[in-house]
Structure formats: structure tokens, C-alpha cells
Symmetry: C2
Subunit: 170 residues, 2 copies
DNA sequence: AGATACGTTCGGGATAATCGAAACGTACTT
DNA sequence: AAGTACGTTTCGATTATCCCGAACGTATCT
């Protein structure tokens, strides 16, 4: 590839950032290293390529590439007449935006579901739960709005959103 | 508090959701349990309260409440003439919105920084890195936009954003 | 000063996550 | 059929994390 030492050390920044980002999100280091490596490659990489480049065993690479694929960070590319799986980093802005939003979306729906279930169950409960019920209602309202907002945001491109919001009066 | 069994099982949904949400974000179960417990309480809770209610030791509660405070999920309330720390769940919509966005913000700034550093270093590197540099430039553009969008989003309330975006033509 | 009631920090033991080697399944080739 | 080149799964060892009890520091009382 590019064995220039200066060049390689330049790439380290990105890999480090990916590792740190992975750790923040609760994933392991390998995830970050693989993500960074994939992004910095000019061509698609196979599992063996990734294993060789990162130093991780093939099983570890396989496991984590499947995870990255599920997260929408990596994408498997099939080349006809080639058994191997080739991976590329997802670079389409809209897909990347979606990836950034998934965790918030998941959180909103998770909490929203729970709030609605609790609200229902508290209704058929003898005890005096007025105060809690109003708190839950407020919270449900917030997450409902958040959910709605996320849906709207995913309809526009980042560019469009910036345009819309920067023109709006506060 | 409210020892009604039906009522208690209703609350379980919320605590479970908080635990699941915590796990998704890479935090431990205690974080989720504490967050849920705090939210479901009608009054502020002390460390001892939280320890008694959740069954976790005081040291564990202390550790994780500091984390929740740093995350902006819990808030310490000081009552004059009382040594104890009282905790409440942050329920202000704008603060909650900010909490939801922090991870994305962190990711964007982390990656953006790394991209800029790498870009700079690759400039003073002999090897032919045209292809990678253009990839990095594209990526930097995306994260720059994302950063800008996040800044705009934090200027408005969720309600305002919904209003603005739902009126906009696609 | 001593006692008390806090929050916090510090080991250590249990528990879970991580990773590599090897086995496995499968499709294609010879 | 045997061999090959893949991706995947399993298993065990290493490693890191979680959580508790105990010790500690520090105000505020008595």
C-alpha cells in the first residue's frame, strides 16, 4: 500500500479517533481499528486483508466486521466470481447521517414504549399515583416529540437542514 | 413510598428500558437502574435512599450517580442545612435534548479533529496520497456540516424544530 | 475533643468481555 | 472425490469490568 512512515503516522490519528469513538459507544477497540483501517484504504478489503493490516485474528475480524455492517458503518461488497467478502466504509452522507441518529432513535423508542406501558399499568392500579403519572405524561410528550423530530430530520439532507434552520428566526 | 405490587411492576418497565438503554450506550446496569429509580421517585433521593431502593452498595451508587450527573441525566440538589446530596432526574426538555445530542456532538468533533490532523500531516508527506486525501476531504465536509447542524439544532426547542421542518417543502 | 453522618476512594473477588487457535461448513476447483 | 479457499462458530485462556465491604477524609454536631 503506502509504507511511508510519515504517511502511516498521519493515518494513526484517524484510527485513534475511531477507537476512542468506539469505546465511547461501548464497543471494543477492534471495532474502532477496523473502522479506521477500512476508511483509510483506497480499495475494498477482505477479511484476510483486514486481519493482516490490523494484526487481529481472522475470527475477531469476522465478528467485528459483521457488527460494523449491522451498525451501517461498513458495507459488504460482492464481486461476481469471487467468494470473498470485500468491505468498504460507508461514505454516503445520508447513510452516515442515519448511522449517527440510530442510537438516539433507539433510545427514544425504547423509553417511549416503557412509558406507555407503565402509564397503562398505573391506570389499573389502585394506589394514588397522580404525581408520577403526570411526570410520565410529560416525559412521554418529550420522547414523542423527539421521535417526530427524528423522523423529520431523516427526511432532509444535512445541507437542506442547515439551510432551513439558518434562515429561520429564533 | 408506594408498596402496591401492581404499581411496582408497572414501574419495572421503565427501569428495564433504562437498563437496556444504558447497556446500548456502553454503561453498566446500575446506571440504568439508578436512572429509572430516580425518575420514578416523587421526591429527590439521597445516596442512602438510592442504595436502599436499588439494593446496590453505597459506593456503587456514589460512583454511578457521579457518572449520571456528568452525563446530564441526574442533577444534584443541595438543601441548605443538610449535608446530604439529593438527586433528581433532569426533566427539563431542553436539557434532555442536549443530553441526547452530546454523543453525536462528541463523535463529530472527535472524528473531525482527527481528519484535520491527518490531512495536515499527509500534506507534508512525500507519498502519493491523492485518493485518500480526497476521501478525507469529503468526510471532513460531512462532519463539518454535521457539527454545524448540531449547533443549529441546539438553538431551537424541539417544538420549534418540528414546526419549522414540518412546514418546509421537501 | 470525640462522635456522628455524610461522600468518596481503595483493594479484592466474582463476573463478563475479548481475542486467538482450531474445528467446522460450504462452495468451487482439480 | 479429494483439495482448496473462503466465512463462521466454538472453546479456552487472558484480560478488563463490576460491585461490595472497609477504610478514609471531612464537615457538623455534642
Amino acid at each position: 500500500m503506502s509504507p511511508d512512515p510519515t504517511c502511516e503516522s498521519a493515518k494513526r490519528h484517524i484510527i485513534d479517533a475511531c477507537v476512542q469513538s468506539a469505546k465511547i459507544k461501548g464497543y471494543n477497540d477492534a471495532c474502532g481499528v477496523l473502522r479506521g483501517t477500512l476508511f483509510l484504504s483506497e480499495e475494498p478489503l477482505s477479511l484476510d486483508d483486514l486481519s493482516r493490516t490490523t494484526g487481529y485474528s481472522k475470527s475477531t475480524v469476522c465478528l467485528n466486521m459483521n457488527l460494523l455492517e449491522n451498525l451501517g458503518i461498513a458495507q459488504r461488497v460482492v464481486i461476481p466470481g469471487d467468494k470473498r467478502s470485500w468491505y468498504v466504509a460507508v461514505s454516503d452522507p445520508n447513510s452516515m447521517k442515519a448511522v449517527l441518529l440510530t442510537n438516539i432513535k433507539k433510545e427514544a423508542q425504547l423509553i417511549l414504549n416503557a412509558l406507555e406501558q407503565t402509564e397503562r399499568d398505573l391506570g389499573s392500579c389502585g394506589a394514588n399515583t397522580e404525581k408520577i403519572q403526570s411526570k410520565i405524561a410529560a416525559m412521554r410528550h418529550f420522547y414523542k416529540q423527539t421521535d417526530e423530530l427524528l423522523r423529520l430530520i431523516s427526511r432532509f439532507t444535512t445541507e437542506e437542514l442547515i439551510d432551513l434552520l439558518s434562515k429561520a428566526k429564533i
